[in-house]
């Protein structure tokens, strides 16, 4: 066997698997989206029918809120952990990255323990505070999911920032706010955009968290799920999946071109 044929043989199992279980199924999904009663108009329906357009707007808004909150929290915590060495730093870091392996359903449950009827907040506050099943609960669930992912990307970039630049800015009389805005944020910008795109894409497609929390909230993954299982509206479920898939794929492409990281979406 020559060298070239050996190398090609090595790639064959991958080619067969990804054709059979990725390329063909995705093509079939696309065909299913236009094979419904409405044909291609199904894609128009997404922006024409109030139910779908409202879902789209709500999903984008919650995902945007998650993205900015996760960026704010993780950048602050990440810069702090990179710039300060102290006892217990590693413990804090472990706590902040622990949820990386939690599936979305588990995070949904953890939010229920915080804000559900038997939840912590309801027990320690007077009155009846239950937010787990509202948009706020969903937002907190997505935030829980995003903080560790954004933190890791930001910390990797922050370690490469030169502290001398900040010191120079400070000796020149810049106050801490100006140092952050003029020195730290521009230096971190590629990784902030990258991790922001990851957080946004993850929140858009998060099914597990929505499955436990969003029983009464229409976000895209839940609508896809109900269209498929309850209404048997395969064409719409397929069309929404395709649109969602293209959006998250483009976002993660941007993220990777900026930071070169691979963080699992899912959720």
């Amino acid at each position: 066997m020559t060298n070239r044929t050996f190398v090609l043989t090595c790639l064959t199992p991958l080619l067969i698997f990804s054709l059979a279980f990725l390329a063909f199924p995705l093509m079939r999904l696309f065909l299913a989206s236009v094979e419904g009663d409405n044909g291609w108009a199904v894609y128009l329906d997404i922006i024409r029918k109030p139910r779908y357009i409202n879902t789209l707007v709500l999903t984008v808004l919650v995902s945007l809120a998650t993205t900015f909150a996760a960026l704010a929290v993780s950048t602050t915590a990440g810069m702090f952990l990179v710039r300060n060495k102290f006892r217990g730093r590693n413990i804090l870091l472990s706590i902040l990255t622990l949820p990386l392996a939690f599936p979305g359903v588990v995070i949904g449950f953890l939010i229920i323990l915080l804000g559900g009827r038997q939840g912590l907040i309801n027990q320690i506050t007077p009155g009846h505070v239950v937010f787990a099943y509202s948009v706020l609960g969903l937002f907190l669930g997505y935030l829980y999911f995003s903080i560790p992912r954004v933190l890791l990307t930001v910390m990797a970039a922050a370690e490469k920032l030169d502290p001398a630049l900040e010191e120079a800015a400070r000796t020149l009389g810049a106050n801490p706010f100006r140092v952050v805005v003029d020195v730290i944020l521009p230096g971190l910008m590629p990784s902030l955009i990258a991790s922001g795109a990851i957080a946004f894409a993850t929140a858009m497609g998060a099914f597990g968290t929505a499955f436990t929390l969003a029983t009464n909230i229409d976000v895209i993954p839940m609508v896809i799920y109900t269209e498929f299982t309850l209404s048997a509206n395969i064409a719409m479920a397929a069309a929404l999946s395709i649109v969602l898939g293209i959006v998250t794929w483009i976002l993660l492409l941007i993220a990777r071109s900026l930071s070169g990281t691979t963080v699992a979406a899912g959720g």
């Binding site: 698997f17 079939r28 300060n84 588990v106 449950f109 038997q118 903080i147 959720g267």
Partner: protein, 263 residues
């Protein structure tokens, strides 16, 4: 003065984030071993719920472990040679292929599951067997295995090593076995731990692909959250934590090690 104030603010944000992530986790652990969560810890601690979980869900736990091992074997068989092929043939075609198999990282699991169901849902023998779930898990974890090995292989001078071995008369297969595989070990280890960790926790695809007779651990979790009392749901989550947290730590250690070697 300003400096200490900003530091204080940073510390507060960091600690609040830690509390937000840690407190519900601890509550879930505690609830899983409390006699009656509604009355609080004063009602006593017990392993009753964990035993209950074992009786109710042992099958799901074993199915998940089995799937994770099967998934590891398949991703190794497909991913290891593929990573070698991609490393030996760098170029736009390889980039394209790598990009394509990485689609499952970006496209939500729900969409992939729908696609699989559309194409294979009518093949009832396949649809109802555990291999259908396995396909979903392999689809999702394969890019991690390939990239993890590829990163290590791309960092070393594979061509020179192989040419040396070839000049001594080693066949392509011998070179693969004796040079590529041993050198790729850190990447294989990191990839393997990632695959197992992700497979055990996978929910989005699995929820759509599973059948009532084939429930994985996370599917069982969703089940218990919807239909069991809080203590059992918590105890089950506790079992999941015990399984996944050591795996996550091993995975982070192995990935950091592989990254150091790749640099």
């Amino acid at each position: 003065m300003f400096r200490s104030k900003t530091k204080l603010l940073q510390l507060t944000v960091t600690l609040t984030a830690c509390a937000f992530l840690l407190i519900p986790t601890l509550m879930s652990v505690l609830a899983g071993v409390t006699v009656n969560y509604f009355k609080g810890v004063s009602s006593g601690l017990t392993f009753k719920w964990v035993l209950n979980v074992w009786e109710l869900y042992a099958d799901s736990i074993f199915l998940s472990l089995w799937l994770a091992i099967a998934c590891l074997i398949v991703t190794l068989i497909i991913g290891l040679p593929a990573a070698y092929g991609l490393a030996r043939h760098p170029g736009w075609l390889s980039r394209l292929l790598e990009e394509f198999i990485s689609l499952p990282l970006a496209v939500p699991g729900l969409a992939l599951a729908l696609a699989l169901l559309q194409l294979y849902g009518t093949l009832s023998g396949f649809r109802t067997s555990w291999t259908f779930i396995l396909v979903g898990h392999v689809l999702y974890t394969l890019p991690f295995m390939v990239r993890s090995i590829l990163a290590v292989l791309a960092a070393m001078d594979l061509k020179t090593l192989e040419e040396g071995a070839a000049s001594l008369g080693a066949s392509p297969w011998q070179r693969f076995r004796d040079i590529v595989v041993p050198n790729a070990m850190p990447g294989i280890l990191a990839g393997a731990l990632t695959v197992v960790t992700l497979s055990i926790g996978e929910f989005n695809l699995t929820w759509m692909l599973h059948t009532p007779y084939l429930k994985t651990l996370p599917v069982g979790l969703a089940d218990s959250y919807a239909s069991m009392r809080l203590e059992i749901a918590s105890a089950y989550t506790l079992v999941f934590f015990v399984l996944i947290v050591p795996l996550l730590m091993a995975m982070q250690w192995a990935s950091a090690r592989a990254q150091r070697i790749a640099q």
